[in-house]
Every structure is written in C-alpha cells, then in structure tokens.
Symmetry: D2
Subunit: 331 residues, 4 copies
Amino acid sequence: MDFCLIGAGFIGPVHAANIAAHPGARLRSVVDLNREAAERIVAKHGGIVAASLEAALADKGLDAVVICTPPRTHAPIIEAAARAGKAIFCEKPIDLDLARVAACGETLKRTGVPFFVGFNRRFDPTHKAMHDAIRKGDIGRLEMIVVSSRDPEISPPDYVQAMRYGIFYDTMIHDFDMVRWLTGREPVEVFACTSVMLDDKVNPVRDPDTAMVVLTMDDGALVHVNSSFRAVYGYDQRIETFGEKGMLISRNQQPTGLERYTADGIRQDPLHYFFIQRYAQAYADELDHFVRAVEAKAPLSIGFEDGRRALAIAYAAMESAKSGKPIPIKG
Amino acid sequence: MDFCLIGAGFIGPVHAANIAAHPGARLRSVVDLNREAAERIVAKHGGIVAASLEAALADKGLDAVVICTPPRTHAPIIEAAARAGKAIFCEKPIDLDLARVAACGETLKRTGVPFFVGFNRRFDPTHKAMHDAIRKGDIGRLEMIVVSSRDPEISPPDYVQAMRYGIFYDTMIHDFDMVRWLTGREPVEVFACTSVMLDDKVNPVRDPDTAMVVLTMDDGALVHVNSSFRAVYGYDQRIETFGEKGMLISRNQQPTGLERYTADGIRQDPLHYFFIQRYAQAYADELDHFVRAVEAKAPLSIGFEDGRRALAIAYAAMESAKSGKPIPIKG
Amino acid sequence: MDFCLIGAGFIGPVHAANIAAHPGARLRSVVDLNREAAERIVAKHGGIVAASLEAALADKGLDAVVICTPPRTHAPIIEAAARAGKAIFCEKPIDLDLARVAACGETLKRTGVPFFVGFNRRFDPTHKAMHDAIRKGDIGRLEMIVVSSRDPEISPPDYVQAMRYGIFYDTMIHDFDMVRWLTGREPVEVFACTSVMLDDKVNPVRDPDTAMVVLTMDDGALVHVNSSFRAVYGYDQRIETFGEKGMLISRNQQPTGLERYTADGIRQDPLHYFFIQRYAQAYADELDHFVRAVEAKAPLSIGFEDGRRALAIAYAAMESAKSGKPIPIKG
Amino acid sequence: MDFCLIGAGFIGPVHAANIAAHPGARLRSVVDLNREAAERIVAKHGGIVAASLEAALADKGLDAVVICTPPRTHAPIIEAAARAGKAIFCEKPIDLDLARVAACGETLKRTGVPFFVGFNRRFDPTHKAMHDAIRKGDIGRLEMIVVSSRDPEISPPDYVQAMRYGIFYDTMIHDFDMVRWLTGREPVEVFACTSVMLDDKVNPVRDPDTAMVVLTMDDGALVHVNSSFRAVYGYDQRIETFGEKGMLISRNQQPTGLERYTADGIRQDPLHYFFIQRYAQAYADELDHFVRAVEAKAPLSIGFEDGRRALAIAYAAMESAKSGKPIPIKG
C-alpha cells in the first residue's frame, strides 16, 4: 500500500518510519509547507516530496494518506483525499468545529473511502489487554473509571494560543475515546473544572493547563479524568477500571526495569518522557491494522463516528468549565 | 489516664484493646445499652461495666471518654462529658446535623475540655509520610489530589437506612479531612454525583453506594475523590498528590509480602480486608497522641473545627448530588 | 506466665516489651551483669532486678526464662534453668560448641522442661505464608531455594573477634533454619566461600563479612544463601522458593508505602533498618506461641534438635570456607 | 551491508527479520540443509537460497555472515567465512571444544575479519542500564552478584543428548559472559552442582536440568548463578549486583503492564515466554551495533576472546559438577 504523508512535523516522522518498516506499506510521497522537513523524511524513508497536496492526490499510484497537519487544516484535506478516492488515516481531532466535522462526514459517506482516526492508545498492548479483560467479563459490570493523563510539558505558546482549551479537545479527547471504547457506552453528562497552574514563562497565554472532569455514563457508571500540562516525572498515562468483580489497572511504563537500592531508598527510572516513546508500539500497531483492514476491505476499528463523538464530549467539557455547570452530552 | 469507653460495638473493642495495651492508659469503665457487649470488653481488658452514662461520668477517677456510639447520639454524650469535665475522644462525625454540631461547639468552648475527633487516617504511617513530604516542599505547590476510598462491603440495611447518603458524611468525610490536612487549605466548591450499583439484596434501601466528587480548593488546586461500598479485592485506600515538582502516592497495604509466580501469572495477596486491619497502627497511634497531649496539656492535633469543617464539606457534596449542581462551601 | 529476662542488652528490651504487652505474660525479674541495663528495663516494664541468676531461678513464682546473653554463656544458663524446672526460651545459637550443645541436650532430656529456640523468622507473616503455600503444594516439589540475608552493618570489633566466622553461626544460622523449615528436609553437603570486603575501620578483625553458600538437600534440591555484613539500603531479607509448579518470593519490607515520583525517577523508602524493625511482629508472635504452648502443655514449634541441626550446618559451612572444599553434613 | 544467514532454524528467522528491517542491512542469501526452512525466510525477507555454504561465501557482493547453525558446526563455518574475508556474526558458543576454539582463533587472527559473538543480553536495555550504572560507580566496588537464569522448558531430547551438560555451556554461558561484562573481571574458581528434577517424559536423557554455581572473582567478589530447564511462569532472567554503595536489580519483563485486582488477589501477567520475546529489542540492537561497527571499521563490543573465556568457565563448571570439587579457572 502506497502512502502519502501529509504533514512532516511532530508526529509525521513517526508515521513515516512505521510505513517504511512495514512489509506491506511504502512511503510514496510527503507534503508539507515546510519543504525541508518533508525532504528530511524522504531522505530517510524513501518516496518523493510532492509539489502540493493536489499533486500528491492526483498520483494514481497512491493508495492512502496519513494526515498529521495542525487540527484546523484537517477538514479540507480529508475532503480532498476522499474525493480523490484515497483511504484516509487522520490524526485526531477530525476538526475543531463540530459543524465542519459533520460536513466532512457527509463527504466521507458520499465517497465511501476507508476512514480511520488515529486514537493510537487503543492499540497499546496494556490498554488492549484491559479492554479484552473487560469484554471477557473479568470484572463484571463497570462502575467507575479513573483516568490520569498528564503531559510532561506544555506546548509552545503559539500552539496553545491557536488551540485554546486544548486540554479538552487536543489532550483529553484521547481519554474520552478510551472511556467510550473500554465501556462500549456513551456519556450523558459532563462536569469539568480547570486551573492555570503553570507559570507565566511556559504558559503566557494563561490557557487552562490543569483540569478535572466527571462523566456520567448512560448506565450510571461514573468516570473521572484528570490532566495536567506538566508532569516532571514523565508521561503519566494510567487507566483504572472498577467493576463488581474487581479492578483493572493499566500501569505506567518506563524505559528500563532497573531498580537501584541505595541509602536514599529504592529508585526506578522516571516514566517514558512522552507519547512518542510511550506509545511507540501502539503507533506501529495502528498502522499495521490500517494496512491490513484496508487491503482486506474489512471495517476499520476506529471510524468517523468515534472521532466525532470524542470531540463532542470535549466540547461539552469545555462548555462546562467555562460555565461552571454540568453539561448534558447529546448523541 | 483512666478511660470510659462509651459504645461497645464495631470500633469499641479496637479502642479498648489499645487503651489496655498503652502504658499510660487504663480502661476504667464501659457503657453500652447492650450490656453483654460491654461485659465482653471488660472481661478481656479490665474495668467495670457502668450502670449508665451518668454513673460513668459521675466517677471522679475518670479522666477521659472515648465516644463510639452511633453518630446521632454523639452530641448529647459530648455535652454531658464536657460538663463533667472529661477529656473527649470522639469518633467522627461529631453529629449528623450542622446546627447541632454548632451547639456542641459552644458547650465545648465554655467547658474548655480537651476535644479530639478520631480522624485516624492522619496517624497512618504512609499517609503521614506523605503529609510530611508535602510540608517539606518535596513536590512544590500542590495542584491535584486524587483519592480512592472504597469499602469492601456495604453496611447492613438498618445502618444504611439510618444514615442516608452515608457515602458522603460517614465515609468520604475521612477523605475530606485528609484533603484539608494534606493541603492545609479549604475547598470552596464541590460537585458530586452518585450511582446505585449494588444489587437489591445488599442495598435494599437503594441509597447511593458509588460516588465521585470534584473539589476546588481556595488556591485553585483540584481534588477528586471516589468511593464505593463494595470492592471485592479488599479495602482500597489510596491517595495521590500531584504538584509542580512531582507526585506522591500513598499505596495500598496487604497482609503479607508474598508473591506467587505460577503459569497463571504473578499473584499477591488481596488488600487488607477493612479499616480495622488496614489502620491498626493508626488507631494505636492516635490513642497514644491523645494520651500524651492531654497529659501534657498540649493542643490535640485534630480539634472540633476539623470535625465541623469535614462534615460541612460532606453536606455540600450531598446537596450537590441531590441537585445535580456544583455547590459553594462556606467556611 | 511469669518470666525472668536473662540478658538486658541488644535484644533483651524487645522481649521485655513483648512480655509486658502480652495479656498472658508478666516480667517478674531481670538478670544482667550490667545492673543499670536491667534497671532500665524494670523501670519501663515492671518486675525486679534479681541479685543473681541463682536468686532469679530460686524464685518459686517464676515460670519461664528468656535467655538473651552472649552465645558462649547460653549452655550453663540453659542447664541451670532446666534444673530449676523453668520453661526455656533461648536465643540462637544454643552454644558455639557442638559437644557442649549435646551435653545441654542431655540435661534438657533429663529434666523435661519445655525448650524453645528463638528462630523468630519462622513467625514472620510473609515467610509463614510461604511455608504454608509450600505445604499446601502450591508450587509442587521444591527444586531450588535462593536466600539473600544481609545486615545493614557489621557488629563492633569485640563482638566480631569473640565470634569468628559469625557470618555462618550467628547470621546464616537463621537462614539454615529457614531452609530446613521450608523444605522439611535436611542438607547433605555444603560448599561455602567468603570474602573480606569491608574496610579496616569497621572490620579491623578481618573476619569474613561476605559469604556465599550452596547446600545440597537430601532429595537433590539445591539451595543458595548469600550474606553480607553491610547493606547500605537496609536489612535485606528475601527468600525465593522454586518448584515444579512455580516460584514463591518473600519480599523485603519497608517502613511505609510512600512512592515519590520526581524528575529523578520513582523512589520508595529504604528497607527497614534492621531485624528489630523488620521482625517486630515475629518477635511478638513467637512469644505468644511460647506462652500458649507452654500453658497448654503443647509441643513447642522449634525445639532443641532444630537449634542443634542449624548449628551443625553452620559449622560445616565454616569448615568448607576454611578448607575450600565441599563438606558433608552428618545428621 | 549484505548478509548471508547460515542456519534457518530456531533463531535464524529472528536475525533475518532484524536484517530486513535494518535501514543499513539486507538479506542477500540463506543457507540451510533444510531447504524449505531457508525458502520460508527468503519468501518473507528477500534474498536467495544459496546452493551451498561454498556458493554463498563465493558471492563477491556478500559482506557478512550470521552463523546460527548447531554449535558443533560453528568452527568450520567460521574458518570458511574468515578465509572468504566476510565479517562474522556468530551465535554462542564458538564451538563445544576449547582446542577447536583455539584453532578458530588462529584463523581469525590471520585473516583479520571482524568477528562478533552473539551474547545478545549485553544489548538488553535494562541489563545495559545496570552495566552503565556500575561503570559510573553508582554502587561502588562490586562484592556479590546473583543471577537467576531459568528457561520455561527443556529442549527436545535429541538436542539435550547432543549437548550433554548443556545447562553450563549452552545456557549459563550467557550468564558467565554477563558476569565478566558487568564486573570487568575474571573468575578464578568455580564450584557447581546439578540435579535432575524434570520427569522422564521431558528429560529422558537424564541430563542435568537444574544447577547452581558459585564463582570467585579475581578481586574476591562472589558470584552465584542458578538455572533450571523448566520455569512454569515464563522466562526468568534476573541479575542482581551488590556493592559497597548499594544494589542494582535488573527485573524480569512482562508482555503487558496490566494489573488485575479480584477477590483472589492482585495478579499480573506471567513473564515473557522465552528469549525471543524477552530479548527482541536486544537482538535488533546487537545487529545494529554489528552493522555500524563493521561499516565504521570500529571494534566490535564482543570479540573472540569473550566467546572463548565464557566457554572456558562453562567447561570448568561442568568439571566441578562432575567431580564434586571446586575447579580453578585458567585464563
């Protein structure tokens, strides 16, 4: 399967490396306004730098695109790729505007191209083992979920300024997806509150960098999610699901299993620094799923509706934080 | 110091044993409507069964009382003991009615007797090590707290019926005290939601048995507390404090440190079954503090105001759960 | 049961406190050449300072003695107490000379007094859970045992000089007892090697402070024990039993369950400092066993033969270390 | 760098996959008496099936060979490849006969081809972190090492029969290499004992399947290694290094970080099943080292002398087990 990588920044090189290493995939082209970034990827993983998005999509030999440009650019790219008949692997969120997302959905329905949202955490081996244990009924009916989801550091001010309340629809959107996926259910209400805890130097925008959310699910299960844009001990990613027959914990991960016993105590490594290290396997596995499913014309495990609903929860959380009231979530 | 134990049920025998084992304390009398229960304690730990509360308090040789009767009886006993000039060690909550608590407070102020509320968790060695590390500044400014506080089983229906919303003022009241103690700050708002998850047989009253709370502290720190009245793996008591310089976790405790490696995986003991096992050391240590402080005429570490404020938070949480709205907490 | 404590040093105060706290025991007298040490114990836990061993044993009201004087004095005290008809609780080793031990055994057999060797580790809740799991067949036939047994610091030079090769018959003797108890079998051969690793200041005697042993059991199971007289991270006491159906690990113990996550990594407390903290529960529990068994005229769980055999293994290990050859162990 | 894979069995496919995935390497040919096995690898990872070893080595475009045939065939293949001027990556052991190994060494010296022994564990991230911490002096002078090295199951009887005492030179040889690498020192004496613990069905040859070893290092440090050919809980690979300033533990590894809390206790996954899962990263990293070092004409981190010395220790251990005596190790 021949891929075009659209967006050579941050997460782009991760997808490019996974495409290059996958026996059934090949990097055919890269598109980015920053031509140098695109060239660096091509030099390492093969393919060509396409002159433009249009040029890339006009390529008959191209099978699929991976969209990892900034969120506000996703919708038009999705629509162009869909009209060109390419299978689409899109980083979350689909867009920042729910109406725009809905319009995208119409185009996708019309064109019928395979569409996948990169909620990579569903492919993490530990989260996946939790999901499977829940489905097997190991802890019975789910009653409470507690998710801790903390980044090691905040994004640069420009990015924070462009997103505003990104803690909900850029970060927690992953957690909202995990909750939907683990429970197989939808939330009906959200209450959220936020704080600005980081200092002016790293958060001059004073956008919320600390947040807590409570969701009520449609079967009465209660969910808590907390996030921070600064965890000095690394990327803190834990999920705990509690049910009538027990509890499952998806633990944090560390680079090595070394334990150091000294007069100061027992010390282990800090956690993996960030998502690229923590979810390296998950990124490779989601690409593998995409390639296999598209080739087999089988359904993709994460579709448009998953992307839309997670975003809707994020929006309701933001509305709750702004208003100080719990907000109902519509389907 | 000579003690009268008022209430020979549930937690009474724990206090009686700690009094008997303490080099500076002696069990002088026991009062309970259930004379047999009182006699069992006296047979094991010495002292006499007093004919009545009045008779016990009239005893000139008596120095102090430990009140562990049902919550609704606390206030009149506190007042009688205060008027009799005895030092008071009272199980939480002070009472179930905030106005009644206020009246108690007046009597205590007037009589000036030492008064202590049994928030025993403050004496747990691990929670205490967390408290000390926070005070030393090990994790800098506190930003988020996550408390999991789950009982292994629900109380009998009569008790549940008598309490109503006991998940807040009988159970979480401990957690609210821990949050005040660990942060040294007061919450300004609470949002709470509840579910009834247990089946009819164990929870015929259909009182909330599952709850999640978010507190906003007066410095913007965010706090989450979750509780359940049924955790099949034992008494789940964890606290996590997150700050600018790191995170502290007060882990769960188990009866032994045995690890079993078999073809089924790696298995450890379930958690301690309930609070009597989990907080055995804390109960002994809080009694020791009470004896030492009263004898030295030093201030007690947990006073009337601590009892009153934790109850006020519990009431606001209940109001939030009933109304579905966040509720401000007044001082 | 009325006790005389013989030896007010190191471990004496631990036994005195446990006797004082036990509902069925009382400290009646204390004997020590160092009268001040004896008086300190009496001031805290009651009883009288006896003028001499003879005076103490002549006391008709005395039921039992706890012997915790230096090893070389045990044998004559045991014999005197036995002739006086007192139940005997003796710290290990019975003596440093196997012939002297045999003579003691004759006296004990003749007098028939209850005799107990203080291999306290058999009463540790985690080691005991391992023992019970082995007996229940949880890991099937035992095939290998690995014991790590390291002290935080070496004894003072006088003590080291008096003992010589104490790493075997003062320290590892506990581990040899654990191996016999856990397996229910006897070793047939031992190979041992030692090193002097500590510096001149703390080990001026240059007695072995580091040792490794391999035992072959009578059913072919293999056992490794390692010891050091200096572990900077605390008292390191681990046992691992490996069998056809799995492995059991008796983990190290720490003062608190606090975990600290900072930029330096994840840190827990060092281990308990030494045996008094680590085995506090075991010391109380072994006394309780002694009191109950003697009162019920039931057999004591650790007898003379257990003390003798553990010492015989220690001697064979010393001989192996000195000769550089494996040494057979006779029954 | 173009590779010929010699030996398509067991570990061959692992090396083939790593070569195929490495950006600087390519699988050029595969040699195996079992042509089907060779063809399966070629179908998946490219290259051709060579008609013979001679044909493969005659290929001018070939840069390097990976030797993973049975141990007794290594020496002639090494010599042929050396004469053909190819860089050599050889699985351990170099050969089963020390004289044959010495002859190999002469050929290698004469031809000067790069030669690497696949002691893959040196590339495991956790073992490597331990090595680096020791080198940095984190635990000061090394005093004791304890290695547990247990396979999940025994090899087929044919293999066991062909090896005899393979527990030393096929399995523990890895551990002996780890000890040399971690300490930077040589052992001067070994004592070993063995047992046959597995039943007749899986070990009809009655070759030792359980072994314990003690090594004395040239600086007096003591080392223990234990091995078993059956661990029902998975591949048990732990190393513990103890020094004057503390202890380092290289922990076992599991497939996921899921924890399950139920009424039966707290359960985690069994360990990785075997070395292919446990050391997947190490296999990829050692190939990467080989490719980079050979291309840069830099020294390889594991050379002929490392392979020879580890084998010499294994032989001395076997001699000790056979004779029941400690055996000196010559350089």
